[in-house]
Amino acid sequence: MTEILRMKGVVKSFSGVEVLHGVDLSLNEGEVLALVGENGAGKSTLMKILMGIEQPDSGEIFLNGVKTIIPGPAHALALGIAMIHQELNPVPEMTVAENIFLGREVNRFGFVSRREQERLTEAWLQKLRLRIPPATRMRDLSISQTQMVEIAKALSLNSKILIMDEPTSAITQQEVNDLFHIITMLRDEGIGIIYISHKLDELFQISDRVQVLRDGNVINVTPTKETSRRAMVRDMVGRELSTIYPTCDSQLGEVLLEVRDLTRYGEFESVSFSLRAGEKLGIAGLMGAGRTELVSTIFGERQPDRGEIHVKDKVFAPRHPNDAIRQKIALVPEDRKLMGLNLIMTVGDNITMCVDRRESRFGLLNIKKNKEMVEEMVGSLAIKVHSYSQNVENLSGGNQQKVVLAKWLLTNPDILLFDEPTRGIDVGAKAEIFELINSLVMQQKAVIMISSEMPELVGMSTRVLVMCEGRLIGELSGADITQENIMALASPLQ
């Protein structure tokens, strides 16, 4: 096997803080290298350096043994390096085809050959078994569809080195399988792939070697076959972690939330269910099943066309999320960048956003109390920040997600709606979040959890609702909650 990439002693600091302390990395032809580590370990930063998006403070990059300087993404692309970015980067007003061919449009004398582009796009989408018309605008896609398009885009670049930074964080099992199929093909063609993910099962399925980063240092590099899940987790978090799905047996209490015949045309139809105190209700479904729309309607972000919501036996017709917050409902939205966070605001300000008014006196911010609350949340969720007055923008993806969680926990809600709460979160943190969810239900709170990760739903839920095409198809509880059962219900083709 020939080595096609070697990074040597890469050091990188932001605002004077070193986040990579001399990292080495090597990649062979036809190999899948898994890069793992906690949130904020520096995985994305290392890859951005390889893409020329960030410049290293010191260190060297060798491509096929030749020392190379990569001043920008255009250069990296020209060298045959492509990347699926962790943070999705669609151009919302442009079509799928235009996004995929952005920067290298199929053209004749400068005129875009739209048909040809869409034809090629169609082909790539089919490889991923993605059924989106190539002329659809990106803004009309759901987050998972967007992710798939970005994957298609990176694949279509036909590069020698392909970086995938958490490509599966927003897609369902079916799409993951399609993706892995393609990864295997690419590997066999001799392409080197760097694969970053927090879903450890995937790594064992797909990777040849694993490199673990912790706090900007390389902890371990081993062939995947020679390591175990347990060892990998220990390397990542620096301690033993027994299980990520902690058990708890909470008592079911009164019905806190009841939804009857809730409908928004074109999004979901005639959805009815109830939720009890102390319950962990999972909602499963394929992408586009309408789960996000359902919970945002309960949260008052949009209004139903038909049907009723009851909270503690009283009719609840929220006009605005604020009404929901007053009823002690919280929603951790699926897209943290779009709906969860103010990226150009500080960590502290984001965390206290929902409770500022509650803590204020005469409209003045209670700065002291806020600081205490922020310290408490940062501590209890182990959010990795340099300072509370750091902009959220510069946090690693996982830590951003924790900030959203912190913000909602502070409102002390009774009903928590989690829409993909563990997206992009590392194993350690995932376990902490599940621990947290358990402690919440132990306090007789009710939790709804939407997740596209079946094991998560299986591991955590006391009951699972399955949605398909906007309708509630089935309900599973107890021992019936298995991946197979969920998949069987969620798939519309049967």
Binding site: M51, I53, G72, P73, A74, L77, A78, M83, H85, N89, P90, V91, P92, E93, M94, E98, N99, L102, G103, R104, E105, N107, G110, F111, V112, R114, E122, Q126, R131, I132, D140, Y265, G266, E267, F268, E269, G288, G290, E469, G470, P492, L493
Partner: protein
């Protein structure tokens, strides 16, 4: 072609349908606003609908129109260009300087002078914004001030009179019964339409405005794209300067004051987003026509200019309101 089987299902199909009709409404909302406006004007004052007057409207809208086309490119890329009016004035002086009867250079020299002066300012704007990192607002505000100063300094405030007949004919002649200005506008709009709709560079404009990071990560030289966009906008301001000099038969350093507001207004009325990445040249042209109809119609109705200001504000809002309603129509279907 494979089509998603689920697409046959009820909610999805409805969704597609509503989307399609929504696109239709979205694109034509402002068109209907224009139609309604024209009908009202025609009913209030029969002279409005005469061929001569309609030609007048087009002619008078041409200069703002060309500026608005340049502005569209800039807005699409997520920027703004406040300097267009001042750059117009500099180009106006330059063109007039070249074509005074005693100097008497041919008309083409005036065009070259005006366009290059304009492009130069545009490129300065672009470099300041893309390479040095000035906010577009502040960079072009500085150019607005400096270019106006330059226009005034060039002749110490005095207009340049006595231009050659040939040059005066540029804006004041007719071709196939239509004033030449209309052709300049039409050609500019058409080229810009093709540029934005069908060319690679056009896609890059939308990409830079829609998501600068995505553009950068896709290997687009965002900085160079910006410089070119501002350069084009500058050159178009230069073009209007040349046409203006011919139209007012003199080089006047005070022309074009506050034209940037009209140009931006035309774009925004036409649905160009101020935050970049969405809108089309067709919208801009409709916006230009709406502004043109308003100002011509009110003049013809003999409404005093104070009341015109009040009405202009209200009519612009009404037009945009019709557009907003049309756009949100998809939500209520």
């Amino acid at each position: 072609m494979q089509i998603d089987k689920r697409a046959e299902g009820f909610p999805y199909r409805m969704h597609l349908m509503s989307l399609r009709s929504a696109e239709f409404w979205k694109k034509t909302g402002i068109f209907w606003a224009l139609v309604i406006l024209v009908i009202i004007m025609a009913l209030s004052q029969p002279a409005f609908l005469t061929q001569q007057n309609l030609i007048n409207i087009l002619k008078q809208a041409s200069i703002t129109g060309i500026l608005a086309v340049g502005m569209t490119l800039v807005l699409l890329s997520g920027g703004i260009d406040l300097s267009v009016g001042s750059v117009l004035a500099v180009a106006c002086m330059a063109a007039a300087f070249m074509t005074t009867a005693d100097r008497g250079y041919p008309v083409i020299v005036a065009f070259i002078a005006g366009l290059s002066v304009g492009a130069l300012f545009g490129i300065i704007n672009g470099v300041g914004i893309a390479y040095i990192g000035f906010a577009p607002f502040i960079m072009t505000l500085a150019t607005l001030s400096a270019a106006r100063g330059l226009a005034l300094v060039s002749t110490n405030n005095k207009p340049i009179f006595n231009l050659t007949r040939e040059f005066v004919a540029v804006s004041n002649s007719q071709f196939l019964g239509l004033p030449s200005l209309i052709y300049y506008f039409a050609a500019t709009a058409l080229i810009a339409y093709i540029l934005t709709r069908f060319t690679v560079f056009g896609k890059w404009i939308y990409a830079v405005g829609g998501n600068e990071n995505a553009a950068k990560f896709s290997g687009i030289n965002v900085k160079r794209v910006k410089v070119i966009i501002y350069g084009i906008a500058g050159a178009l301001s230069g073009l209007t300067g040349v046409l203006m000099a011919s139209r007012i038969t003199s080089g006047n350093p005070t022309v074009g004051e506050a034209y940037e507001l009209d140009a931006i207004a035309a774009c925004v009325i036409g649905g160009i987003s101020m935050s970049g990445g969405s809108g089309s040249i067709i919208g801009t042209v409709l916006g230009v026509l709406i502004l043109g109809v308003i100002s011509n119609g009110f003049d013809i109705l003999g409404i005093s200019s104070n009341y015109q200001r009040i009405m202009k504000g209200i009519v612009i809002l009404l037009a945009v309101y019709i557009d907003i309603r049309a756009r949100s129509a998809k939500k209520t279907i």
